[in-house]
């Protein structure tokens, strides 16, 4: 009875004093526990935080549908920049410049990635890119040149074992190679992206497709049907020397007790530039339809603080964008290893047009490695045609 009365009196209280905020997150395991701890600390100040788990790839679509109807969250933890422009144009995320007073602790790349139309739409949390992860038992010294790499890979291939694997069908994973040969998504001139100038079918991109095809059919390293989780399975089983992956697999690798090292993929043969993978930055956003924007921004700021990011790294091993947190993690091999490839990387575009790129581009990359010796130029030209058609 008493409890019921308390609830009743709580319900009757004016809502302004206690902020009720809803948080959508795709975190799981240790990272979710970390978020719950952060929410508990936030709730001590008189707020009430509800955490809802939503799968990563569904957050943008669900947000676009539900936020304008008042069904969405107040805070989203976290999304990468490639859908940022679309979310902003759809009007579901709120510019955060006025809530963020100090930006000095954040990595520049992180802030740039989260800025669209000159407005900061999210507080960066962590960055990620792919790198070459190798098994120290099988690879005594990390290869630095293509020749070394090829030798190590071929020596380890055969008899149910693999020298090198990668998900060749995946455009995101293989952007490093494409950019090394001179391909690009949108021409970047002094920080502005020209969505009319798509470089995914230029001469360099053709060469990159040929190289990816060679990895499968000429060097016989990556057989057909290898996906990211196959590669991870083989690596944690001790049958794989090197593979291309991001920080997200490190938990399972550590659990399997593999003695690993992290390094950059070597410059592919005949490439004009260095291997430069896509860098994704994930940030905390607040909904444009939130009724509690100050509280929501407060929570977003709290979980992006240097200490919180340090704890976050301990929970899930991601690479923080807080400079001071990164300094404190100098001795962490994962942070250092992926940190290198992040600084060598290219930021993923964050303009809405990026939404039109992924599917045709991925399809073209997947087609390029389906059979030996294909007409890469034709495949890529078709994809770029479709992309331009969809951008309008």
């Amino acid at each position: 009875m008493k409890k019921a009365l308390t609830i009743l009196s709580l319900a009757l209280l004016p809502s302004a004093s206690a902020a009720n905020i809803t948080v959508w997150t795709h975190f799981g395991g240790g990272e979710l526990t970390w978020l719950k701890d952060q929410a508990a600390a936030f709730d001590k100040k008189g707020n009430k935080t509800t955490i809802v788990s939503v799968p990563f790839d569904q957050i943008p679509d669900k947000l676009i549908q539900s936020a304008p109807k008042g069904q969405g969250p107040d805070v989203i933890v976290t999304l990468p920049q490639d859908r940022l422009g679309q979310l902003a144009s759809a009007g579901v995320i709120e510019p955060m410049d006025k809530y963020i007073t100090s930006k000095t602790d954040f990595d520049k790349t992180g802030l740039t990635a989260m800025t669209y139309q000159g407005k900061l739409f999210a507080i960066p949390m962590f960055a990620e890119s792919v790198a070459l992860v190798y098994n120290k038992k099988l690879v005594s010294k990390a290869p630095t040149t293509w020749a070394e790499f090829l030798k190590v890979a071929q020596d380890n291939t055969g008899n149910g074992k693999f020298g090198f694997l990668a998900d060749l069908n995946n455009a995101y994973m293989n952007y490093g190679v494409i950019s090394a040969y001179g391909g690009y998504v949108f021409k970047n001139t002094g920080g502005t992206l020209n969505t009319k100038d798509i470089g995914l079918a230029n001469a360099g991109a053709d060469k990159a497709s040929a190289f990816l095809n060679d990895l499968r059919y000429k060097y016989n390293l990556v057989p057909e049907g290898v996906s990211g989780d196959v590669a991870k399975g083989a690596f944690t089983d001790g049958r794989l020397a090197m593979y291309l992956t991001g920080p997200w697999d490190m938990g399972d690798i550590k659990k399997a007790g593999i003695d690993y090292g992290i390094t950059a993929f070597p410059t592919p043969p005949g490439a004009s530039g260095k291997w430069s993978p896509f860098v994704g930055v994930q940030g905390t956003m607040i909904s444009a339809y939130s009724k509690q924007k100050v509280a929501a921004a407060g929570f977003a700021k709290q979980i992006s603080s240097s200490d919180a990011q340090l704890a976050f790294n301990k929970a899930g091993g991601r690479i923080p964008v807080s400079l001071s947190a990164r300094t404190k993690l100098k001795s962490d091999p994962v942070v250092v290893g992926f940190g290198k490839s992040i600084s060598a990387g290219t930021a993923m575009p964050n303009v809405p047009a990026m939404g039109a790129v992924w599917a045709p581009w991925s399809a073209a990359i997947a087609q390029s490695v389906q059979k030996p010796n294909q007409d890469y130029k034709q495949i890529l030209d078709k994809a770029v045609q479709e992309i331009s058609g969809n951008i309008k």
Partner: protein
Amino acid sequence: MTAIPHPPHSTVRSTVPPEGTRGVLLAVLILAMMLGGATLLGWLLSGLTARIYPEAPPYMILVYVLGILLVMMPVVSRLFPWIVNWYYLFPALVFLAAFTVLPIILTVNYAFTNYNAVNSGNPDSSLRTTATISADKRVITLAETPQSQNVQEYLRCDTPGCAGATLVLFDDQASVPYRAKVASVSGLQVTLAAPFTGPIEVARATRLNSYTYVGLENFREIFGKASRALVPVFIWTVVFAFSTVIINALAGLILGILLYNKNLKGRNIYRTLLFLPWAIPAVISVQMWVALFNQQFGIVNKGLGLLGLAAVPWLGDPLWAKISVLFVNLWLGFPYMMTATISALSTINDDLYEAASIDGASRWQQIVNITLPLLRNSFTPILLSGFAFNFNNFGIIYLLTQGGPDQQGREATARSTDILLSWGYNTAFASSGGQNFALASAIALIIFFLTLAISLVNFKAAGVFEEARK
């Protein structure tokens, strides 16, 4: 015609409904008025409730409508006793109207617009700018027009004066958007059609990314790209639906006939085991096949390796992926066809076989001359409904291949194993389609008409119309 017994007491009002089209129209009119009246009353009542108890949930309208209908039904049936017949259909009709017909009407409407994730009728937050309002609350001055040369371009108006366009106004917090109609623009000043009356201090403004009617544009797009999407997808849909039904039926027939053999000991054990693929929900078993079909590590290829056969790219090659879809659908569907065969066989009189064997007909002749002709009667509707089901069998495609693998010369939303329905789904809900709800709605309309045409032929063949009229 069944005779309707006349009630003992005869009233002036006829219990016999008016005949012909007039009767149908009258009944529909009465039902529509009942439903409309109840909805109107329910809406008013729920509005009233919301005013008294602001916490009342919006679905109270459903409760009210149902309650009002319950009260109305006996009253109306006094006026028109024959309407009672329709009351039996009422629950189904009301549900269909609310949860099927209404969404369909909305969807048909979307098919002629450019509705998508961005053009969703909501304010744009990336183009928001600071704004001030004049003392008479009629003139808004924008600080800038991001990404646009002038206000006309910013607001995307059709006319230079921008009359009728919508400007969205916010306070400093930008929590609740207020929409205001524009009368005219000059420079950075926007004059509203009426003084702004919202309870906020205007500090920010933005435009509305509204959707507009584009006529047949979506259909033009579909048919313009027909060779890259509609045509190949439609052909594969028909080929898939047709061949999967034939293959399943053949497998089911063979197993069914083998298992119906009374001399076969332990046939119940075989039946129980072979029943298993049917009993497991497809959402579970199809995903299982994805792993088993992996080209390098799946047990299917490991098993083929044991036979010395090459590793097949089951899900990695456009042609093989089609074979995989057919194979998995066979695995899912043969138990049903087998069971159908067995139960159809058990209705055949054994004397027929005995007579035949006395006449000296061999087992094969018995199957060809007795079993198959008799099975045809019970198999025709099963095959036709199987075709209709597989025509829109989204589940297996989505779960097994997600439409993939990619194929040259196709749109990214219409890949090598995509059927019509999964193509529409990709367009609206997958990242590859950019959430183009309008285009997906147009695709839905096309699918509807195709399904309708195919079903009409099917129904004619299966005698559904006769059975319905009966």
